[in-house]
Point group: C3
Chain length 317, copies 3
């Protein structure tokens, strides 16, 4: 595997899930693969789960790990050719990225949407520079438009907890005090569309996601209707995608918060969220603490999705 | 060992010191214990000695180490149930802590007293949340009310340097420009009380520590009298504990600074301090640089106390 | 090797280069040397290449690595004896350094010139305190007046790319918007003077470097004349060294920027720079992107120079 940014990079999903479950049962069984191999994790944004789970996955595989926290204020990368670099950007990505590549075997990159320029975000300018110039396999640790390690972990989790062969999975928008990127819902939609699950997205009008990701999914503006009979409820906030509101908060309507009344509409559904989660905005205390909440095993599977991706990259070196 | 926050957790002190000396003589003799095991070190506060010595100890044991610096400004944990999380706290401890636990085998936590709420500090709210929710063995890397890795290192050091079977050990308050927590003197008192040493605490009136920790120790308000015949002088500043002055500086009286005249009162005593130390506030240059100062070997023993605790936790997994 | 701060510490240059090429061809062939050995990297200043390449080199050798980022604001070291430490400096170097040394086997230190006190900078006060008090082998990861790991990597790179036995190497000043230390040009001059290359330094008047480093090199104020027939062009900015202008920017004259016209004066010369580089200040896009630019392999050799230094230090333990 030379890059991992989309569901397309993982190939056959059944095979990928089986490999994940195999890795989960035998985490240290592939340590020879990472011997004398180094993972460089580059963070342009802060991280808790991704930082810890990806390091753990790499160490399970016997890799060395170097973590680089790029402080956006202190170390800005120039991205355009022809600029006279007499301002605050100390280095051009055309030097920085191949140099980083020269000190490692695999690179993970976290670079969120900035909501300053929709094209720059949706062209994944930072991530793609790493793919184009590092000469190393590159995987997304959440980029501007996708978070495939999260979606792969979500898929593994659904496969572990599903009680029917074709579960009904509902992705629901929920309110949040800050404007959040669409990376998680984009990827979740993309991955769910690649399964044979029944997949429905519900959100207030105006919160339509990029059809590149949601293509094929049913959109239902009535949350209660969407939740009927759901086996899995995946709650997440995101800011508006469509113009002219890109990056804006259009609603903080707490009637969209997932509470126990809404869960009663489901088929004794499981509650999921990528975390971190704002309690009593996204979901009430009682729902997230209930025995139908699987947010902790879902987060624990981040180690497994990362390990499968790293394993495949190591195998391809 | 499932937790390490107090002298009670270490069991028989003679046995613990013997184990420490054995580990010190053969640091890499237990590397098999840490194979495929990961230590997560969570810092809510800055650290030099603890950060380095605990990493070193874990690596001596063959463990993988992940360091997480929680920037208090950037990533605040909500601790109360029922709160609508629409403010600056992005994640609830009820999610964050079990997730951290899922990526590691052992957790170390540093979380100082904040002097905002005495009950919150003395109930060790942060540390106890890790103990209760992480599902992993947890050890204190200095918490609000104790610093047992320091006290265990202090005990090892005294055992190495003592010239009589029952040395006289004096813990003396000394001045400092900032308000410091009571964690180090609390733990030192607790550990010294668990030995058969002669143990005396001296401080200005108003600086009485929590009797939960000092119980059994002699309190002497006359520093010179306390120092008479001392084999070990342990200097440390702390802010007031007793109400209504909790967290306040009551004195910066430099007549309490340990100088060579005061050391002359002792039985050619050894000078100890946990470091970092303010020279010429806590202790004069000549005393800390004298051949009776053992602050450097004392700090070096932090590696050993951490290694014994980690070794026992690994043995219990 | 007990310290590495200067070309004098590396001994015979031919032997050092041969060892570097041997290490480069067999990076993991010396892993036994670092077993149970720990490198402590102490950064008083930010770093990209040095941070990554030195970690990589240490891991190639099987060492454990601990990285300590000293936040200058948060943790200031007192350096003078006799001071009453009642201000913002929490610890004296006389304690901090031996303690750091006690937790590791080898120490790397990055500590830039501050341009506050020329004597303090040129006496390498911070680096020398580590050498004097840590009781461990210490190497410079760029100090106030030198950057020998960079110069050693530069030498290896020139040896790999040279097409004549005695190449002409030109170090040229180039403009930059900020005042930069002389560490890189000082070391480069020192190392080039130790070879049998033809070595010329060119810069505007007023930018003369310390003759301790440039001694023996030809100084030519006419950049075009200096570049004639050059096999290697090493561009770098630095602030003034000579009094009363120490640390000041005397020129931002972009006629000194290396462009393709200037490169035409050379003997089809190779372009070098230590990076990070300000494009179109130091060098134009077309020159740095040309096939005569060797800045990326030059940076990649930072791993090799660090590995030779660490290897020798490990061999001497």
């Amino acid at each position: 595997m030379k890059k991992f940014t989309s569901v397309k990079d993982i190939g056959d999903l059944k095979k990928a899930v089986n490999e994940a479950l195999e890795v989960k049962a035998n985490r240290f069984g592939y340590k020879h693969l990472g011997s004398n191999r180094t993972l460089l994790m580059v963070f342009f944004n802060s991280s808790l789960r991704t930082r810890l789970s990806t390091q753990k996955a790499a160490m399970n595989l016997g890799m060395n790990v170097i973590v680089l926290d790029v402080n956006q204020g202190a170390w800005k990368l120039e991205t355009e050719r022809g600029v006279i670099m007499d301002g605050d950007k100390a280095e051009h990505m055309l030097e920085a990225i191949p140099v980083m590549g020269s000190y490692c075997d695999v690179i993970g990159v976290r670079s969120f949407a900035r909501f300053e320029n929709k094209n720059a975000d949706y062209n994944e300018e930072i991530l793609n520079q790493f793919i184009n110039y590092s000469q190393r396999p590159v995987f997304s640790m959440e980029a501007a438009t996708g978070h495939p390690l999260q979606s792969f972990a979500d898929l593994i989790t659904i496969e572990e907890y599903k009680e029917t062969t074709k579960p009904k999975v509902v992705l629901t928008w929920a309110p949040h005090p800050r404007a959040l990127p669409q990376a998680v819902p984009n990827s979740f939609a993309e991955w769910m569309n690649a399964t044979d699950y029944e997949f429905i997205i519900t959100h207030p009008e105006g919160y339509e996601l990029d059809s590149k990701f949601t293509n094929g999914a049913t959109i239902e503006y009535d949350q209660n209707k969407a939740l009927e009979g759901a086996d899995f409820v995946y709650a997440k906030n995101w800011a508006a995608y469509t113009d002219p509101n890109y990056g804006k908060i259009l609603s903080t309507d707490r009637s969209w918060t997932i509470n126990s009344d809404k869960m009663k509409l489901t088929n004794n559904g499981r509650f999921m969220h990528c975390l971190p989660v704002r309690r009593n905005m996204i979901v009430t205390d009682d729902v997230i603490e209930s025995d139908r909440s699987i947010v902790i095993p879902e987060a624990a599977n981040r180690e497994i999705s990362a390990q499968v991706v790293l394993k495949r990259m190591l195998e391809s070196l």
